[in-house]
């Protein structure tokens, strides 16, 4: 038995009530009305078919699909006594025996550049993490172009973060893809945009709450439907991306997909590819990205083994074994 504190109970109840109140209007919204709104203001809701094997075989003959994903793990205690490891993997469906792996590590104890440890340390570390990870992911994607000459590259996550954290390399990747005609897309498991909510607000200024697309679209699309977002409402448009929302599995949540705008014509095909590769009874992520994710993952065991094997015991204990690690209760 768990003993729950009464205070926690009442706080959670309270949160539930607040959410209910805020979303009452949405929860009451007629599905048909919302879909009509989306059709007129956001973009066309379209039914997709899965790609047949002939179609896929064509992709295979053109170089197959490369999935790119990154992973990070941290060992140690509080700042600055920890090490973070990063790993990126680009894996091709046609060259499955040659995974392209890039890795990097970071520890505040030995910063590569001068930094002031007191200044907003959390944000700095967060940035570091994003920069390192994004950079090796983009590098892996670049190397995969060289090695596999793929038909398309599926990145795990939205593309916009590469603009922010790995701008130079990213521009290079974009250019290479455009030159060589390699389709570059990002698959977003957790969409964080608020395109529909913002548009609603614009049309009806009496709405003063901010609604996210994830909340609004939950359960509103049928299995296999997508929304081709019009560029004028898409906030990623200025950065050079076109986007689509789709429901790729029987789970009611919606995933997103970005494509570089010069390749907009392939958007529907790529959405269908994502749809085809997603198991019906899954969370909505294409299996290929899950496989890549599983392979790139740096588990706690690996991290620990890495440290124990390749670091002197004294140094490891002195710097990186936290009190928490020794806890046994």
């Amino acid at each position: 038995m768990y003993s729950l504190s009464n205070q926690l109970k009442s706080k959670v109840t309270n949160l539930n009530d607040l959410l209910k109140e805020k979303y009452e209007s949405i929860l009451d919204l007629n599905r048909e009305d919302l879909r009509k709104f989306i059709n007129t203001h956001i973009g066309e809701i379209k039914k997709m078919d899965k790609l047949d094997n002939g179609h896929l075989a064509l992709y295979e003959s053109k170089g197959g699909i490369v999935g790119v994903d990154g992973s990070n793990n941290k060992i140690g205690g509080a700042y600055p006594h920890f090490v973070e490891a990063y790993q990126a993997l680009a894996k091709s469906t046609t060259h499955k025996d040659q995974p392209l792996i890039l890795a990097d590590i970071y520890s505040p104890l030995y910063p590569e550049q001068e930094e002031s440890p007191l200044e907003e340390e959390e944000r700095v570390i967060e940035d570091k993490r994003n920069i390192k990870l994004s950079t090796i992911e983009v590098e892996a994607a670049l190397a995969s172009i060289e090695r596999f000459k793929p038909y398309a590259i599926l990145m795990d996550g939205g593309l916009i973060r590469y603009n922010i954290y790995a701008a130079d390399k990213w521009i290079e990747l974009r250019q290479r893809c455009e030159e060589e005609g390699i389709i570059l897309v990002g698959v977003i498991k957790d969409i964080k945009t608020s395109i529909i909510g913002d548009t609603m607000k614009k049309i009806n200024p009496s709405i003063d709450e901010c609604f996210y697309d994830r909340e609004l679209l939950f359960g509103q699309l049928d299995y296999g439907e997508m929304i081709l977002i019009r560029d004028e409402v898409n906030k990623k448009e200025p950065e050079g991306y076109s986007s689509v929302f789709l429901r790729s599995s029987l789970a009611p949540s919606i995933i997103g997909m970005d494509i570089i705008d010069s390749q907009r014509e392939y958007m529907e095909d790529m959405a269908r590819l994502v749809f085809t590769l997603t198991p019906e009874n899954s969370r909505g992520v294409p299996l290929w990205l899950d496989i890549v994710d599983k392979e790139v993952k740096i588990s706690d065991e690996i991290m620990k083994a890495l440290m124990e094997r390749y670091m002197d015991r004294g140094i490891y204990e002195r710097f990186f074994v936290s009190e928490r690690d020794k806890r046994s209760l």
Partner: protein, 613 residues
């Protein structure tokens, strides 16, 4: 293939990305620090980190896997094969992890797989999962037999399992265990066929009347071997029996005891009343007359019967009774004498005493397989006498050789029985058990061997089980029997766990000669059991036959009015001698209508049966 994980001197794990492992196959481990080591796969596993189609809790459907395949990625290729390999001989050091592993060549395993030549051994079947090595096998071991796979006859592909007959001298006696339908009877049949090929004198106790070798199995096209002259089926009471005049008091007591258990008093009665060279009738008469006298009650009463006797014959008979009464009444209680009498009668009625065992002896002398058939009870009685007799003949001959005196030659022989737990049960005494026990313990010296089959090894006498040096273990489901097998053989835990799931005809052979357990498949038998026809098929064909016979009789007599059946019955009786009552005939005709062979139509005069157009 590489050695992976933690190793010991006895066991290693071997992993492979390309090749799936099979249980009981052999592998050679090339440890760089030791000589090559031979091991056997005892567990085989496969592993795919993406299947069981479950990645972060998602279930992957087939269409997605198909799509990935179309994109050039086959998820099955990410399967890893892992096997646990047990070394045949312990290594000096734990095996180096990362050592290469390869399949052995035939030459490297020949000595441990094949212990004798085809001519000197019993070819029982194939050693499973040895097809890779069998490719380089010497010609003499190829094409020896066929096996049955999925209901089809297949040529031999694997290394043959040849049981070394001569090693029986050091490691005597064979046990054949397995539940019903496990292939045990087939295994026994194959074993007996091989014994016949080798002309080994053999006695088979066959309570099921199934060990007939005259029919060549229907699946064999070419005639391979003919056993017609190599065996003989003899039935107790019809062909063979006990010669009463040769019996000792002890033999007789054993026999009577086999009919039904004897009390001490009854044993005593036999000792007192039985005289050497008694015939069945002289002994029977003595018992009969004594009981009649005892029924009178006293000497005086018998005296009065003598006096009132109507003729000399009767008086003489009563005088004899009186004599018996006076000598034996004190020592032989009436009830015990009665008990012996009815036991004797029971054996007599079974025909046990009407024949002798001459034919069996001659058969054995000629190197034949003699099948003794009879009900289980009769066989228990008869085998006690027979085995004692034959075993002692052989023993006398061998002992005479030692003592340098002369005795008639009697060959070594093998005793085979199915349902052996009936002949040597655990927990209670039975007459046939004592002789089987004696042979199990001492038979080796005299060249008398046992092959005991049973589906209940748990019920078989433990002393005997312990003497079975080679054991063939077929599918066994019963937990208590698996327990017994585990205790009595060198089968490992893993192998015992597989016992309930063995295919029919697959067998573990645990043999002292081999020094380890071999997993084999029994070859297809050359002959077939007379009981293979399904009783339901038999029923069907019998009915059909009957119908056809009846149709043939009546077809010319149709059409016939239902009112004329009396005449028809008469006519049939005159022509064929078969008598039908009118009801009977009508019943049969109705059946024929039901089965659509003839038609029945209504006319103004009543029903009429007519042939079909």
């Amino acid at each position: 293939m590489k050695v992976v994980g933690i190793t010991t001197q006895q066991e290693v794990y071997v992993g492979s990305k390309e090749r799936n492992f099979r249980i009981n196959e052999f592998l050679i481990i090339e440890d760089p620090y030791q000589e090559d080591l031979l091991g056997e796969v005892v567990e085989a596993k496969t592993f795919n980190r993406y299947i069981p189609l479950n990645i972060y809790g998602d279930f992957v459907d087939n269409s997605v896997l198909e799509s990935l395949k179309a994109l050039g990625y086959d998820i099955d290729e990410d399967t890893i094969y892992i096997s646990k390999v047990r070394l045949l001989n312990e290594a000096l050091y734990p095996i180096q992890t990362g050592s290469d592993v390869r399949l052995p060549k035939f030459e490297e395993v020949k000595d441990i797989m094949i212990k004798t030549s085809r001519e000197d051994g019993l070819v029982l079947g194939a050693i499973k999962n040895t097809d890779d090595m069998a490719l380089q096998m010497d010609e003499e071991f190829k094409e020896l037999f066929h096996t049955f796979e999925e209901g089809r006859l297949m040529p031999q592909k694997e290394i043959p399992y040849i049981m070394d007959l001569k090693s029986m001298h050091h490691y005597p006696h064979i046990g054949v265990f397995g539940g019903s339908g496990s292939g045990k009877s087939f295994g026994l049949r194959v074993l007996l066929e091989e014994l016949m090929i080798q002309n080994i004198p053999t006695i088979v106790l066959d309570p099921h009347f199934e060990m007939d070798f005259s029919e060549t199995a229907s699946y064999l096209e070419e005639k391979t071997e003919n056993f017609k002259d190599k065996f003989k089926c003899l039935q107790v009471g019809t062909h063979v029996g006990v010669k009463f005049e040769d019996l000792s008091a002890q033999d007789l007591k054993n026999l009577l005891d086999a009919a039904s258990h004897l009390t001490d008093a009854m044993n005593n009665v036999v000792d007192i009343l039985f005289k050497p060279r008694d015939s069945y009738y002289s002994f029977f008469n003595r018992l009969q007359m004594l009981t009649e006298a005892q029924e009178e009650g006293s000497s005086d009463k018998i005296e009065s019967r003598i006096n009132s006797g109507s003729d000399e014959e009767e008086r003489r008979a009563w005088r004899e009774r009186k004599k018996l009464f006076e000598s034996y009444d004190k020592t032989c209680p009436y009830n015990s004498v009665r008990g012996i009498l009815w036991r004797l009668k029971r054996l007599g009625n079974d025909g046990v005493f009407s024949k002798d065992i001459r034919e069996i002896e001659t058969g054995l002398q000629n190197g034949k397989l003699i099948v003794i058939q009879g009900s289980t009870r009769i066989l228990q009685v008869f085998s006690t006498y027979l085995l004692n007799n034959l075993y002692h003949k052989r023993r006398e001959y061998k002992d005479a050789l030692y003592k340098k005196t002369s005795a008639e030659y009697f060959p070594p022989f093998i005793i085979v029985t199915d349902e052996s737990h009936n002949f040597a049960p655990k927990g209670y005494e039975s007459p046939s058990k004592s002789i089987l026990k004696e042979i199990s313990q001492e038979g080796r010296k005299y060249g008398v061997f046992l092959i005991l089959a049973t589906q209940r090894p748990t019920l078989l006498d433990e002393t005997i089980t312990a003497q079975l040096n080679t054991k063939l273990i077929f599918r066994t489901v019963r937990a208590s029997d698996i327990q017994t097998i585990q205790e009595e053989t060198d089968l490992t835990m893993e192998e015992c766990r597989r016992l309930p799931y063995l295919r029919t005809g697959d067998v573990f052979i645990s043999s002292a000669t081999m020094g380890r357990t071999i997993f084999a498949r029994i070859r297809a038998a050359i002959t077939s059991s007379p009981h293979t026809i399904n009783p339901f098929d038999e029923l069907k064909s019998k009915f059909k036959e009957e119908d056809e016979r009846f149709l043939k009789i009546i077809i010319d007599k149709l059409p016939v009015m239902a009112t004329d059946l009396t005449d028809l019955a008469l006519e049939i009786e005159q022509e064929t001698g078969t008598t039908y009552t009118v009801d009977n005939l009508e019943e049969r005709l109705k059946q024929m209508v039901d089965k659509n062979h003839i038609e029945k139509e209504e006319t103004i005069f009543g029903y009429r049966y007519k042939s079909k157009k």
